[in-house]
């Protein structure tokens, strides 16, 4: 009954860690959308120089480990006079990292919208911005849902690396409780189960969103898989 005893004694700590993980993942994800979506539009439609800047950002972030990025934000920037508390640094790191990956997901989705859709929108007199909003994004946001699901799951799980810049989220709580009780098996079993349940919840919700937003007559990614 080690697990039950642990839960009874330490549930407020587990809950607190879980809460921090959710905050990190959610804010990181939203910041990632806020960065990734405009970046993907610039990558696809902007003039050459701007496009280069967008591509450079994506490649720089994807080409370096997230941990290094977190260390730069938390340890290196203060030496240059830019200081963040650990939680802010963690959210920034996750968001900037996720933004680069999300930019690629969005770009892929936008490119898989047939080019005729843009032609059609423009030919009825829409500006490119109107066409982008009403036609291209309306379709590509539906296409990006499966990749988005991956990204959300990834953020929930890999937000645990912020443990290394002293943010105590679910994994960090595990280390603390483990070192107090020495019941590592029980502690990490509980933590693994919490991650698993969260992931399953995200996957299920995303399936239901995908179903509800699917375009009648077109197969969704789930139907295609079957």
């Amino acid at each position: 009954m080690a697990i039950l005893d642990l839960l009874i004694q330490y549930w407020p700590l587990f809950l607190q860690g879980f809460e921090t993980t959710l905050i990190l993942a959610a804010t990181g994800f939203l910041l990632g959308v806020a960065i990734g979506l405009p970046t993907s539009i610039l990558e696809t439609y902007a003039s050459k120089i701007v496009r280069w800047v967008a591509i450079a950002y994506v490649e720089l972030i994807r080409g370096t480990p997230m941990l290094v990025q977190l260390f730069i934000i938390y340890y290196a920037l203060p030496q240059l006079g830019i200081r963040f508390d650990a939680m802010t640094a963690a959210i920034l790191g996750l968001g900037i990292n996720s933004g680069a990956y999300q930019a690629e997901y969005f770009r892929g989705a936008m490119q898989s919208v047939q080019s005729g859709q843009m032609d059609a929108a423009i030919s009825i007199g829409m500006t490119r911005a109107q066409a982008l909003l009403n036609v291209i994004l309306a379709q590509s946001l539906r296409l990006v849902i499966p990749a988005w699901t991956n990204e959300a799951v990834y953020l929930v799980q890999y937000s645990s690396v912020v443990y290394l810049i002293a943010v105590v989220e679910l994994t960090g709580i595990g280390a603390i409780i483990g070192s107090r009780t020495f019941q590592y098996v029980a502690v990490y079993s509980i933590i693994a189960l919490i991650y698993l349940a969260t992931t399953l919840f995200i996957v299920k919700s995303s399936h239901s969103i995908e179903r509800r937003t699917s375009i009648p007559g077109l197969k969704s990614s789930q139907e295609q898989r079957v």
Partner: protein, 236 residues
């Protein structure tokens, strides 16, 4: 394209024919400025639309375009497809846009529950008729049709051609690229033959189909009539 010059008067229907790769689609896409021509001028109703200060989106509302592959907005149903330009571009109210869209759809025979169908739930012929309605609803000064029937199954071509004929008879100004010789003979005021980026020959349908002057035109018409099983001699 070199030295292409053509003129369409209000209410006229002109048909461009010719081998693929001859610049027919490019010409149409230049006219509604989907492609900016490198040089040359295009006038619409006396106004030059190829000028520096022309607002492209405004010009394009005056020029309807019907695509070979329909290009209906996949995420919108038939009614919404026609309505989108009316609400977003013409800034019409939801209600009057809906009324006009339904009228345009009725003109092309899309009625009843069909207006709520999404493109993927419609046949090719139905999709193309919605495509025509989408262009018509904007009340353009001229309608460009880029091989509107060549992506359709044979049994669906008729319904689209009938809509186009009706359109021509009701006084619309149309420029169509098509291989439908029957349609061209019936409604075109002029046939324009294009090959290798130049207009090699043009004239009244009877003239051009029955007595083509250029060897290039003869060869093309020969291969087309062979395909459709009627030779020019039979019709003489």
């Amino acid at each position: 394209m070199k030295g292409v010059s053509l003129k369409i008067d209000k209410g006229e229907t002109k048909v461009i024919i010719g081998p693929s790769g001859g610049g027919k689609s490019t010409l149409l896409r230049c006219i509604n400025l989907l492609i900016r021509p490198d040089s040359g001028q295009i006038f619409l109703d006396g106004e030059e639309i190829t000028g520096e200060h022309v607002k492209l989106s405004e010009v394009r509302t005056e020029i309807g375009f019907v695509f070979q592959h329909f290009n209906l907005f996949m995420h919108l149903n038939a009614l919404q497809n026609v309505k989108l330009g009316l609400t977003k571009v013409k800034k019409m109210s939801e209600r009057s846009a809906e009324a006009r869209a339904l009228a345009a759809l009725q003109d092309v025979g899309i009625t009843g529950d069909l207006v709520n169908h999404y493109p993927a739930q419609l046949s090719g012929g139905q999709q193309q008729r919605v495509g025509i309605a989408r262009a018509l609803a904007m009340e353009p000064k001229v309608i460009l049709l880029d091989e509107p029937t060549s992506a359709l199954d044979p049994e669906l071509i008729g319904e689209v051609l009938r809509v186009m004929e009706h359109l021509a008879e009701s006084g619309a100004t149309m420029l169509a690229v098509t291989h439908e010789i029957g349609f061209a003979r019936k409604v075109a005021d002029e046939i324009i033959f294009m090959a290798d980026g130049v207009v090699t020959e043009s004239g009244h349908p009877e003239e051009l189909f029955l007595k083509p002057k250029q060897s290039r035109t003869k060869k093309f018409l020969g291969s087309i009539t062979e395909l459709y099983g009627v030779s020019r001699e039979d019709e003489n």
